[in-house]
């Protein structure tokens, strides 16, 4: 019997698949459906202090090898979102609360409000298309360290930081997060990108710039996880272009203890979590692996 259960710090997941932030996680009904569909955990929409409409449409463009989006961190604000989290309270399943902010006080305020409803936190220090947030903070190791430390000191749950691959050296940021007390690193976020429509001679996204996700970015995600694994001892959650069980295994071999799935929902539907788990199981059976944890980081040996 193949065992898919994995540990990410103090979190025990029934399987390594996690819903990535920003995908079907703006309301409790969506998150319940994703957990029912077999995800080992869900990450919430990135939540800020106040309601935020996000960028104007078009916010979504389908390209040949991935999806470009510029949602722009839409969210109902922490107060309204607590209502959604309250509805998840009696629901079985691991919830990771994603937070964005511009200064550490914002992160702490939101984390404290969320803390009775979530099992862990994910700090969004990597969104590539929201002015004053995300990557604008997350490329500076000292900002990352300060925010990580203040949040970690304020809540009892594990705090993960979600990093971008669009920095000179992701390991440096990862090391800064680990030193500051982060319980794990999530890598990577979408990559800053754009698309121009030739017929209309204009950028497609309402915000012009957006984030690129899907199969095209997978090798960049795998590289980032591989580099991080060499330099940090805390667990890594891999994300970026994971569509199949083999994609997930590649990330796990690079050093990931868990994987996040987002864009693949577009191609394979909400059952993608079960499908990927089955594909991982089949691969493990074929290759005589009993426990998924035996595969973590094997590419480094």
């Amino acid at each position: 019997m193949v065992d898919l259960s994995t540990k990410i710090g103090s979190l025990s997941l029934p399987n390594p698949t996690i819903l990535a932030s920003g995908i079907m996680d703006e309301d409790s009904g969506s998150m319940k459906r994703i957990l029912d569909s077999g995800a080992g955990a869900v990450v919430t929409k990135s939540i800020g202090l106040k309601p935020r409409a996000g960028h104007p449409n078009p916010t979504f463009v389908e390209l040949d090898h991935g999806i470009l989006n510029a949602m722009g961190l839409p969210n109902p604000g922490i107060n309204a979102y607590l209502e959604e989290l309250k509805e998840m309270k009696s629901y079985k399943g691991i919830i990771i609360g994603s937070i964005f902010g511009s200064i550490s006080e914002d992160f702490v305020y939101i984390a404290r409000k969320m803390s009775s409803f979530v099992d862990a936190f994910e700090l969004n220090l990597s969104c590539p298309h929201a002015k004053g947030y995300g990557l604008e903070i997350g490329q500076n190791p000292s900002f990352v360290a300060e925010i990580t430390k203040t949040v970690t000191d304020s809540v009892s749950q594990p705090v993960f930081v979600k990093l971008s691959a669009q920095v000179n050296d992701i390991s440096k940021i990862g090391i800064a997060a680990e030193k500051a007390g982060s319980a794990g690193i999530v890598a990577i976020n979408t990559l800053k990108a754009m698309s121009i429509n030739l017929d209309l001679e204009t950028p497609v996204l309402g915000n012009i710039l957006g984030g690129y996700s899907g199969e095209a970015i997978k090798p960049i995600g795998v590289r980032s996880v591989f580099e991080l694994y060499r330099h940090v001892t805390i667990p890594i959650i891999g994300v970026g272009g994971i569509t199949t069980g083999e994609d997930a295994i590649e990330y796990i071999m690079a050093g990931a203890s868990g994987v996040q799935i987002g864009t693949a929902l577009y191609h394979r539907g909400v059952n993608v979590f079960k499908q990927i788990c089955n594909e991982i199981k089949n691969w493990m059976s074929d290759h005589d692996y009993d426990s998924i944890t035996d595969l973590i980081g094997v590419a480094h040996q």
Partner: protein, 264 residues
Amino acid sequence: MTHKIYTTKILKTIIETNNVKTILFKHPDSINPGEFYMIWIPDVDEIPMSVSIINSDIKGITFRIVGEATEALYQKTINDKIGIRGPYGNGFSLDGNKILFVAGGTGIAMIFPAVAHTVKQGKEVSVIVGAKTKKELFFIQRLKQINANVYVTTDDGTEGFKGFATQKAEELIADQNFDSVFTCGPEMMMKSLYQICDSKDIIFEASLERYMKCGAGLCGQCVVGNGLRVCVEGPVFSKSKLKEIKDFGVFNRDASGKKTYFHQ
């Protein structure tokens, strides 16, 4: 399944009322009644729109000016370019042989291709078209031309039956043995119809409208009930699904995801 942007020129525009317009364009892919496109109005917005006319390669959308995007689209003329993604979503099942369609306001735009399709199939088709007043009615001639049984209602009695479409529907449902009722219009109207049909052995389906962003099932903006995406599992939902959707007739969500309650 790919839904890349298809840019197309507007072939023709038809003024339906003083603030409702139909735009016709070429789109090569087939689309079923009740499905929708994401219509990109360059430099302005991208909005979901149900198909209102299906004529092989030529497709149409019909809309009322309700905001900045529809205003900009209304101003478009022949040869102007727009971008199209889709089709997305699922239309009515169109099950049953004796069918009642109930359209409120611009809902008739989405209902019309379904009426045309079922009339062509030889089914017995009745349509209630409800509007506030005579000046807001459109598509009535087109419905009569295809030989559907058309009932017009206006709130102020300036045309047809004076009252709400739901009142007329209740009367017709009591008098005739419809197999199915399909509706598109203001949510409170559809909720009332749902309540009328709930206890009866009758197929009932309603087309919901929610704020959309990706239109493709990823962003979660248009979700209702327990994770049902209006853009993927909808926009049409059956009676049994509507029963599970606690949002139906109660609230929708604004662009931030915050709940906005309907006036009861």
